[in-house]
Amino acid sequence: MAPRDPDADALTTPLPRPPQWGRLMLLAAALPIGIYLLLPTLIVVPMALTKGELIQFPPTWISVHSFADYFADPQWIDSTVISLKVAAVAVVIASVVGVLTSIGLHGKGFRGKDALFGVILAPIVVPLVVLALADYVFFAKLQLIGSWVAIGLAHSLLATPYVVVTVQASLVGLNPALVRSARSLGAGTLAVWRYVYWPATKPGIVAGAIFAFAVSFDEVVIALFLQGPDATTLPVRMFTSIQYDLTPKIAATASLLLGMATIALAAQAVFALRGEPAARA
């Protein structure tokens, strides 16, 4: 770099652009990290296409027998159905409670609002294994160990903070005065919800519900503590069988989960893009 004239007017002289090779080196350093982030996701589907009883990479023969194995195994299908039922309970409870809580917290600040918000986020912060043990002791008292309803209830607590956070984010743009004026003009509770809150919070509720579903469908530790012969969720079954052997069936299940996650991500992206102008208005 040539020495600069110290008398040059610093405000009008264009400053030297940082050399391009610095940026290139940075991107070159980031590239392996990007591969590291991508790699596990990338190899799951090819591994499911292995012919044979043990997974191989690269797959020697392309075959979809692993998917057939998965769909033909009643235990794995049962677990999938149980996971879906558990997630449904969690999504419904977390969405209803989360939306009501966000509306309750909306508007002018009141004493203890921050503390209350901290309490609402607590399930994210409490170590999962502590919550799992507590849930075990609690549901054992109620003789609900091995019931998928218990797992769904435990997951609904875990998912509620995510709904509150996303719905709160979409409420930020809603002026509380709108709610007050709607009420003073004679709108009842349902009308205020239908015409004021719902249009404003819809993107947040959808995002929160997707989050809640993902949290529940992926959760292992609580589901492991509360499991029973008729309540083994898909992640718990995967966790148990990975410890024995890595079979193509697990790879097939992982591929299906990956497909679902992609759909969820895409759905969220679509809603975010469609909801953006409305939320910002």
């Binding site: 770099m1 400053l15 030297p16 940082p18 940075l26 991107l27 350093a29 980031a30 990290i33 990007g34 982030l37 991508l38 790699l39 996701t41 190899i43 997974i55 191989q56 990479f57 409670v97 009501l100 809580t101 509306i103 917290l105 600040g109 209350l116 918000f117 986020l121 607590a122 409490v126 170590p127 999962l128 294994v129 502590v130 919550l131 043990l133 507590a134 849930d135 002791v137 609690f138 008292k141 435990a154 609904s156 607590l157 956070v165 996303t166 409420l171 809603l174 002026n175 005065a177 992926d218 292992v220 530790v221 992640p235 966790f239 990975i242 890595l246 790879a251 992982a254 996650a261 991500l265």
Partner: protein
Amino acid sequence: MSGQTDSSPAPHGDALQGAAAAEPPHPRAVPALLRSIGRRALLLLPAAMLYGLLMVLPLLMILRLSLSEDLLHYRHVLESPLLGRVIENTLVISALTTVATLVLAFIYAAALWRANRGLRIVLFGLVLLPFWTGVLVKNFAWAALLQDNGAINNLLRALGLVEDHLSLMHNRLAVVIGMVHYVLPYAVFPIYAAMIGIDRQLERAARSLGAPIPKVIWRVTLPLTLPGIYAAGLLVFIISTGFFITPVILGSPGDMMIANLVDFYAHQLVDFESAAALAMMVAGAVSVLVYFYQRLRKEGQYGAA
């Protein structure tokens, strides 16, 4: 996670708000206030029930369980030879994970910061992908990559770099590889957020005064990113101490972490009192870390303002 949890008040100040504030106190204002408090309480009631029944009550139940028989169970856990080993495992694995994560996250966040728009979207996509991939999918994939006849060993054999295989799985390195992959997004976002707050003119000024690039990074970029790095580091450490699945699948039995020990007491020894005592100690330790994390984030916010 960062930023989303801020409960910053809505930007008010339109005409409606002003009109409402200027209104003279209405004779019905007091009952209206009471009604609004009642409405708020009613809206928060379901959450109070959910949290009371499914969080507070169960936690109180294990607290009581742990305190039964005169703290005997705490003594029992503290005297166990396993505990020291497991705490050491947890701290060492979490610290290794945190350091490795921060280094990678700093580089990655800097690349995000400096990339042009198109590349930035790709890099964001790559870092969001693990967020949406299930924890078991990730662990399964790492196991399949790292095992003796796994993808990495097959590749090394095909290239003639190894004769038989490298033992990449069932050791501490595998646990750290799996954990860093899991927590990396949690570190990239706070560090990136700190970086975009940096005034680019400062770096240009340092460069125009003759500082070479490494010095600019060390003396300008790094110090200005430090609040984000501290917050990310503590967050990553807190998350790391709670890992359960990864040590079981990718580690050896000797890599047991604290969450696995709670499970071990409950399921192998069927000693729920000791499990509860250990869980209480874990909750206490994590609460301290979370308290410091909250303080750090508040300070960071004021610093950035």
